[in-house]
Symmetry: C2
Subunit: 362 residues, 2 copies
């Protein structure tokens, strides 16, 4: 592994400077927070936001003031590709062809930071392989746990152990709704309205409540923790829509709460994965019971070091922006690093939810 | 930041292969666990342990069987330096000149993983600068939180935020002693004996109980979280030796526990750091109250994403080995990366313990 400093400098002879030029893809809730942080009073060197792509760039730019409206705003993605940006931050709203844009950016020789769990859950392995081949990076901390750095914890911090089991709250919106009902005794409809008002939920939070969003995130974590390629729709999901105030009261009497938990356990010898997302009773003693509002939380059980737990903000523009800026800084720092794509295999068998696996779970 | 794949390959033209040859410094408790994991039934590619240095290599090797005793054991550090190892893992027992060995290894063009909080707390900034200049890496996850990946969380995962405050349990030995007294109502002497029996404590755990160890770790975290250079002996420490069973009973009646907490808060505008290590009352609601046995735990308060908390095994050879193997894998992966050394400044003022700062703390 001998290197000389030239090879590791990461700068081609004519390299511009040490700054990292960032192009933003999508000026929605998250994109706006990100843009304001990168151009605000407390900047994040060496990151320099230079371009913003948005389908309605003209209108949106008109509503912004300096320094934001002085950046280069483009309505055509190709103009962003052709720019001198080093890294593209993908913060597109649902319905836009995020995966095509991410692929095109990597092919154009740019590193990418994405917040899209759908892109990473469905296309992550292929895109990470493309990034490695291109000598660029694709980072996605925001796609799994928001400001809770679970992607780093599983992919890096616990790389010295063997993960046996993950139990996590991966959808901040659902957690905000359930804990609001818990604390206020309000109906789910009222709790959803409140979450929308606070910017934690879309008008229709179905993909949050029914577990689709958490399942996509869980499939991302299965790749990191177990080296498994798991299609999100292969993960058994039970909706949280039916959870009532009475259910929460009964849980309280049992000494616990109800949380939307994403569970994954891998029996390596047999190649059997058990994975599900469901609203379940969680005893007060579990770290998962202490995640309130839009928080995410995770308990990772490992072979050598036992349990590692973490918790942090899982929803809201500020939390997502924190994770994305952390990824941008890592790319700017490790500019010369090639991050090998994971080698994933299919589980031989995938089991769904059962009270019994849950009993083991918490 | 344009690169071509040759520059980023991280391999010099005649590079041997993709394996990362590891040399172990010190075959004590941690070193032995590390060596067994790297040579055991569940190896960790691309890591290959080839050399072991220990002052008593001959005796220790004689007590080992294959494959361990087939490795190259050396009693002279220079023999390890002269070897073809890519990375040196420093797991020396106290009293050995760890910092000299780490510096010499970096100067010899090897990357280094260390578990020594003393080395990093006192010499970290200089050694990290040397590593950057050498185009090598110096990683130290094990030096701060054991298997709780707090170094990554602060240095990387939360790099997109601004850390305002850290409250943490950083000494697994003291936590094991205090929680044992709590659960068994035994004396501190009995709890210490138990911790020794379980391999969580030295015969004389003074530097654990009096806060010296936690203060060294806190100074490492202050560099990561605040960009501050803080001498460990500048951190106010209160010993936990005086904690009695009655204190614990009183805490229970108040609805909490007593933990050795390391606290650091930085008022940026004024450049004032408040930092201390002390046994304090922690209400049951705090994540710190739920760290039992040799666990570490941390609550990091940030400007943008609020609170992030984590917990994991903080003491014991298995936990330390997990953190060190994670660092080894990161070095093997990021072989071509130059990790810039942090630019640290001195705080203008350092305040110590006060009930008032603690009231804010938990």
């Amino acid at each position: 592994m001998a290197l000389n400093s030239f090879q590791t400098s990461g700068n081609s002879p004519g390299d511009r400077d040490a700054r990292c030029h960032v192009g933003l893809l999508g000026f929605g809730t998250v994109g706006a927070v990100l843009a304001r942080r990168l151009t605000g009073a407390d900047p994040v060197p060496p990151l320099v936001l230079t371009h913003i792509y948005d389908r309605r760039a003209r209108d949106k730019r008109a509503r912004e003031s300096a320094p934001l409206n002085n950046l280069t705003w483009v309505e055509h993605f190709d103009d962003l590709l052709a720019s001198d940006t080093d890294v593209i931050v993908e913060a597109l709203s649902a319905g836009e062809p995020a995966v095509d844009y991410v692929r095109a950016a990597l092919l154009a020789g740019k590193s990418v930071v994405t917040a899209s769990r759908q892109v990473m859950a469905h296309h992550g392995p292929a895109l990470l392989t493309l990034a490695e081949r291109q000598g660029r990076q694709l980072r996605y901390e925001a796609a799994a746990g928001g400001a809770m750095p679970i992607v780093r914890a599983l992919g890096d911090g616990l790389a010295g152990d063997r993960v046996l089991k993950i139990d996590a709250i991966l959808n901040g919106t659902t957690n905000a709704v359930l804990t609001r009902m818990e604390s206020d005794g309000c109906t789910m409809e009222e709790a959803i309205a409140d979450a929308c008002a606070r910017g934690y939920a879309e008008a229709d939070p179905s993909i949050d409540l029914d577990g689709t969003d958490a399942a996509a995130k869980l499939s991302i974590l299965c790749a990191l923790a177990f080296g498994l390629r798991v299609r999100p729709d292969a993960i058994d999901t039970r909706s949280s829509k039916g959870v009532s105030i009475d259910d929460l009261r009964r849980a309280r009497l049992r000494g616990g709460v109800i949380r939307q938990v994403a569970h994954a356990a891998f029996a390596r010898p047999k190649g059997v994965l058990t994975a599900w997302v469901a609203p379940i009773f969680v005893p007060d003693a579990s770290p998962l019971a202490r995640a309130y509002g839009p928080q995410n939380a995770a308990v990772v059980t490992c072979q050598h070091a036992g349990e590692m737990s973490m918790a942090g903000q899982g929803a809201g523009g500020d939390a997502i922006a924190v994770a994305m800026i952390a990824d941008l800084r890592a790319i700017a720092r490790d500019r010369a690093a090639i991050v090998p794509a994971p080698v994933l295999v299919e589980p031989h068998e995938i089991n769904g939810f059962s009270e019994q696996t849950f009993a083991e779970a918490v």
